[in-house]
């Protein structure tokens, strides 16, 4: 077999740019999907039935569709049906955020529900409003409980960002695939891609483990 590993240092700059885009996609998606997830979780618990139903539909739609389909849908269908066209990067971000918002809302909902009713009652008994009790007492506790799950979601998301490569976002996967198809260095580029994803992903997984240990529920 004829392998030429010099292709990797030769494309280091492009790969680094791709890795940065992958990281940016992960960070921005979570920055959007965490607050939106909390919002959707609250809407699902709304006393207004239509609001709760709508939020439930959103969650059940987006967590049961393959991300890659949502990505294609956002790229090809959204411009035609809604007349909105974004750059590939923003389109990928929208698709990933929709999917992760659905996941995070379920995470937060279970976290919020796991806080004893007595905590809210204790807050109300002090004279707090329902909103204050939620913001000051329930949410901070729920947040700690779901942090380990969010950490796992983060690690999964980091890898799943590779799915947006199908719409030419320029992330790590897309960049590596481009170089592969131009240089025909298939094994070298796939190996490099695996190594970079693993090297970036492993520390994140370790941090997630640490968070699991540190914030595991103790009462």
């Amino acid at each position: 077999m004829n392998l030429d590993w010099t292709i990797i240092p030769a494309s280091a700059g492009a790969l680094a740019r791709g890795a940065l885009i992958t990281i940016a996609l992960t960070v921005l998606t979570m920055a959007i999907a965490v607050p939106c997830g909390i919002g959707v979780a609250m809407l699902r618990e709304s006393r207004l039935r239509p609001v709760a139903l709508l939020a439930t539909c959103f969650v059940e739609l987006f967590r049961n569709l393959p991300i890659i389909l949502v990505v294609y849908w956002a790229f090809y269908v959204m411009p035609v049906v809604f007349g909105i066209a974004f750059s590939p990067f923003i389109t990928g971000l929208v698709a990933l955020s929709l999917n992760n918002t659905a996941y995070n809302s379920e995470t937060f909902r279970s976290g919020i529900k796991s806080i004893r009713k007595g905590q809210t009652e204790a807050a109300l008994a002090l004279g707090m409003s329902e909103a204050q009790a939620f913001r000051k007492i329930v949410l901070p506790q729920a947040w700690r409980r779901v942090l380990p799950v969010l950490a796992t979601t983060w690690v999964t998301l980091f890898k799943d960002t590779s799915l947006v490569s199908v719409i030419a976002v320029g992330d790590l996967a897309h960049t590596a695939m481009q170089i592969r198809s131009q240089s025909f260095r298939v094994i070298e580029m796939l190996t490099a891609m695996a190594a970079i994803y693993w090297l970036l992903g492993y520390p994140q997984a370790k941090i997630a483990d640490w968070i699991h240990k540190k914030f595991g529920v103790t009462e």
Partner: protein, 257 residues
Amino acid sequence: MTAATLAMQPAPRVVLQYRDVRKLYGDFVALSGVSMEVERGQVVCLIGPSGSGKSTLLRCTNALETLDGGELLFDGVPLPRDPASIRKVRQRMGMVFQNFELFPHKTAIQNVMMGPSTVLGLSEQQSRARAEALLVKVGLSDKAGNYPANLSGGQQQRVAIARALAMEPEVMLFDEPTSALDPETIGEVLNVMKALADDGMTMVVVTHEMTFARRVADHVVVFESGQIIEQGPPAQIFDAPIQARTRDFLGHLGWDA
């Protein structure tokens, strides 16, 4: 009447008045026709078997539960229904729960500061000063920085009492405050409650601690199946109960009336 003479008026003697209070949970009648009064400065103990409606009555008092019938007057005014007015009423009542319900993500002193800073809008400095004084009062000034997880049950409950007192309430409601405690820490909580009573605090206490009721209460109310079967001064209830059912209940607890 001028403002001066108004101020001279003594506060109404009766703080809490229950008139034919009813509460249902589906088909289950939790309270059926409960009538009683709590006077200012009084300690009223509610006793009776589990599930007899004592805690429900306490929870109705600060509107954690809504009434299904009858009337509940606080300071001569029926309990309001709208959230803003209910909050105002709750600010004037302190509540202590069986399971403490301290906020686990806050330290002891932060728990006590929560009411003053969040609800009363006091400054950080004012809330802290108030909380420090109250922790001294319940004997826990050395535990101010501890999280609830690092406090014993008795210490947690004393912090919970301080947290309720931080709102400077007119009435304190205790819902089985020692039922979740190890026997060796019950005494420290009861002592704090006794000291409060001696200070003249109006208290409504749901309890299974008969010795405490006997020693501290001004008035004892005996519940069974959602009704009051007997009420009166502790001497009557514990030494000469009129109702056979009161005698039965106390007998089951090993109390020899």
